[in-house]
């Protein structure tokens, strides 16, 4: 009797632990079937966009950042996550993390957010095979943001958090769509995104670095290019001929120097005071990296493009966004520095 009781208890115990260990199968954005443990406590972010996605979703699962945050960035990130160590990246973006170091960190999951093209699928498969750690790829296109958030919510076992952020992203997209529905093509500003201190680097239509221009209702003055799909060098002459209505930039140096520059000061947009500097803390609002940090940039850019028509209190929206997405309450002083 006692013996059979013991057996039953043992079987129950085994069944229970088997349930706790039972793996889940998740299909990632690249269509890869990945076996995940029931609970995911720690995640290694493969690159900067993935680190931001993870930070907004579940900062407590982070192990570190692709590169250590600078003091000015830390101020706009929640503690203690802001001070997490530098781990490098797995996705070839400037410096590689050592695979052994990744194994030593014992993450339950490696997360990559961005391109799901073959090269990255292959990288994911290799790293997963080598380390034995599940590796999930999530499509990082801007339009895919709500789906990405829901998918990660499901993977991490926090679907409510994914739903909350996805709803906010969808609301932002819907707000912009509603605004643009009433504005015919002819009334949309022809815009230029200036990168680098000399302002002569930008992206053509289709470039991930400037797609926010079009999403916020602007028309990229550089148009399409048959040859390039990423960043391009722009000649000043071509830019003068293109004559943009609005210039946006995140480069502080360019913003400070353009007015005194003998060439830039001839541009109509400069003379009319239509050069706008986007906030960049803790992550760029319109680029750098091109991840879901651009959701708030969309509101900012729509305000820049359509100051009379876009009905939104940007300061209030910024405060809410930082609280909801970045886990911090902005002080008046911080808010004033973000939006002078």
């Amino acid at each position: 009797m006692i013996r059979s009781l013991f057996t039953v208890a043992l079987i129950a115990l085994l069944a229970q632990s088997a349930a706790a260990q039972s793996p889940r199968i998740v299909t990632d954005s690249a269509g890869r079937q990945v076996e995940l443990p029931e609970r995911i406590e720690t995640v290694f972010a493969a690159g900067p966009p993935a680190a931001i996605l993870l930070y907004v979703m579940a900062p407590d699962r982070m192990l570190g950042w692709p590169r250590a945050n600078r003091p000015d960035e830390r101020e706009f990130l929640a503690q203690p996550y802001a001070d997490l160590p530098e781990l490098g990246t797995l996705t070839d973006q400037g410096g590689e993390a050592n695979l052994e170091r990744v194994v030593a960190l014992e993450p339950n999951l490696i997360l990559d957010f961005g391109s799901v093209r073959d090269t990255y699928v292959d990288l994911a498969n290799r790293v997963q095979a080598q380390t034995g750690i599940p590796y999930v790829l999530i499509d990082g296109r801007f339009e895919n943001t709500p789906t990405a958030l829901r998918l990660l919510g499901e993977i991490l076992g926090i679907p409510e958090r994914g739903e909350t952020l996805a709803a906010d992203a969808e609301a932002t997209f819907a707000r912009i769509d509603a605004l643009l529905a009433d504005i015919p093509e002819a009334y949309r500003p022809r815009a230029y995104l200036a990168r680098r201190p000399d302002g002569l680097e930008s992206g053509v239509v289709g470039s991930i670095n400037t797609e926010i221009l079009e999403r916020a209702g602007g028309i990229n003055v550089l148009g399409r290019s048959a040859a390039a799909r990423g960043l391009v060098q722009v000649s000043f002459e071509a830019l003068l001929a293109a004559d943009p209505d609005v210039i946006v930039t995140w480069d502080r140096q360019f913003h400070e120097s353009h007015r005194d520059d003998p060439l830039w000061s001839r541009m109509r947009a400069v003379q009319e005071g239509n050069v706008h500097l986007s906030p960049v803390l803790p992550f760029g609002w319109i680029d750098r990296p091109p991840s879901l940090n651009r959701i708030i940039g969309l509101d900012w850019m729509a305000t820049v493009f359509f100051p009379d028509r876009y009905q939104i209190d940007l300061r209030e929206r910024t405060r809410d966004f930082y609280r909801l997405w970045y886990h911090i309450d902005l002080s008046e002083d911080q808010l004033a520095r973000l939006l002078p």
Binding site: E96, T119, T131, N209, P289
Partner: protein, 341 residues
């Protein structure tokens, strides 16, 4: 092959044997040490336990899946590049020649960059690199053969330089057009060389073609040595110099293209290591080839171990080989040509 040439070279070999044995031992000890070094802390007994499959868990993952393939790859790539470099130097009778002289690296780089640009899987990128390297050198040889009546070596070298420049231009064009977020960093990293992603599958992939190139070089090392005397002398000794030269180029190119495909462009090894070998054992190719290969294996093992342990992030091999190799090369130049017969 005349008895005279053999008679003068063979006694040297006997004296060199202890040296080769000693170098091999040092290399083996180095490999074991490298296996025990890494960000994931493992003691030597733990490493040995993992190697024999008694450790289990993470230690075995680290040793078998990450460290061992990398250590082996570093030695293979180093040995291959140094052997190819030594072959090219004997072939062109010039100590300033490196395996890139006929455009194999530039061609392989262009192939790999094409693959990255098209976002292809890793295996295709490696295949493109391999074929790119072979194609560049084949084209160089084809053009050099077509140009007649001029000094063959000069035409080969000049065509190689031109091919390298052309491939370099095409690579730069692709870099300008590449996506700066996901492709450009990958391209840059590849052009500097790295073994960070090497798996045992990669090793299995290139081992046959490296062997295919290395075996003829080893078997023919006595004859190849005669090439350093010049074509006329070689012919007098019964060696068909042009045919042999073509064979050496083919073998050295195959070796280089294979390892460049898995490691990216790792400069300096093929240039500097044969010099060190020559200082140790003299210019005779018969001993220069194995000694170069062993030292090359050890050198890249050292460099790659530094690359994966110096910082949190991986340091590209090309940067380290240049930083370590360039000063040494200047030192050699300053010493004059004493090391070269």
């Amino acid at each position: 092959m005349t008895d005279h040439a053999l008679a003068s070279a063979r006694p040297a070999r006997r004296r060199r044997l202890p040296l080769v044995a000693a170098l091999t031992l040092v290399l083996a000890a180095g490999a074991l040490t490298a296996l025990a070094i890494g960000p994931f802390r493992l003691s030597l007994p733990e490493v040995l336990a993992a190697l024999t499959g008694r450790a289990g868990g993470q230690a075995e993952v680290v040793i078998w899946n990450i460290r061992l393939p990398r250590v082996l790859a570093a030695m293979l790539v180093g040995a291959a590049l140094a052997a190819a470099g030594a072959s090219y130097q004997v072939l062109f009778r010039n100590p300033l020649v490196s395996p890139d002289i006929l455009g194999v690296s530039s061609g392989a780089a262009l192939g790999a960059v094409c693959g990255i640009f098209l976002s292809l899987p890793m295996i295709a990128i490696q295949g493109f690199a391999f074929l790119g390297g072979l194609a560049a050198v084949s084209l160089v040889i084809f053009i050099a053969q077509a140009v007649r009546g001029v000094d063959q070596t000069l035409v080969l070298v000049l065509t190689g330089v031109v091919m390298g420049a052309l491939a370099g231009a095409a690579t730069s064009l692709l870099k300008v057009m590449a996506d700066p977020y996901d492709q450009l960093p990958a391209i840059t990293f590849w052009l500097l060389g790295s073994l960070a992603r090497t798996t045992s599958a990669d090793l299995g992939l290139v081992l046959p073609s490296v062997a295919l190139g290395l075996v003829p070089l080893i078997l023919l090392r006595w004859r190849i040595n005669l090439l350093s005397l010049g074509d006329d002398e070689a012919r007098a000794l019964g060696v068909d110099a042009p045919k042999l030269r073509l064979l050496v180029i083919a073998a050295a190119t195959l070796i280089t293209a294979s390892v460049v495909a898995i490691a990216g462009v790792v400069g300096w090894v093929g240039l500097v290591i044969p010099h060190i070998a020559r200082m140790l054992v003299g210019p005779s190719f018969a001993t220069l080839l194995p000694v170069s290969a062993i030292i090359g294996a050890g050198y890249l093992l050292l460099v790659d171990t530094l690359s994966r342990t110096m910082a949190t992030i991986e340091i590209p091999l090309g940067i380290l080989t240049a930083v370590l190799g360039a000063p040494f090369f200047l030192y050699l130049l300053a010493r004059g040509r004493r090391g070269w017969a």
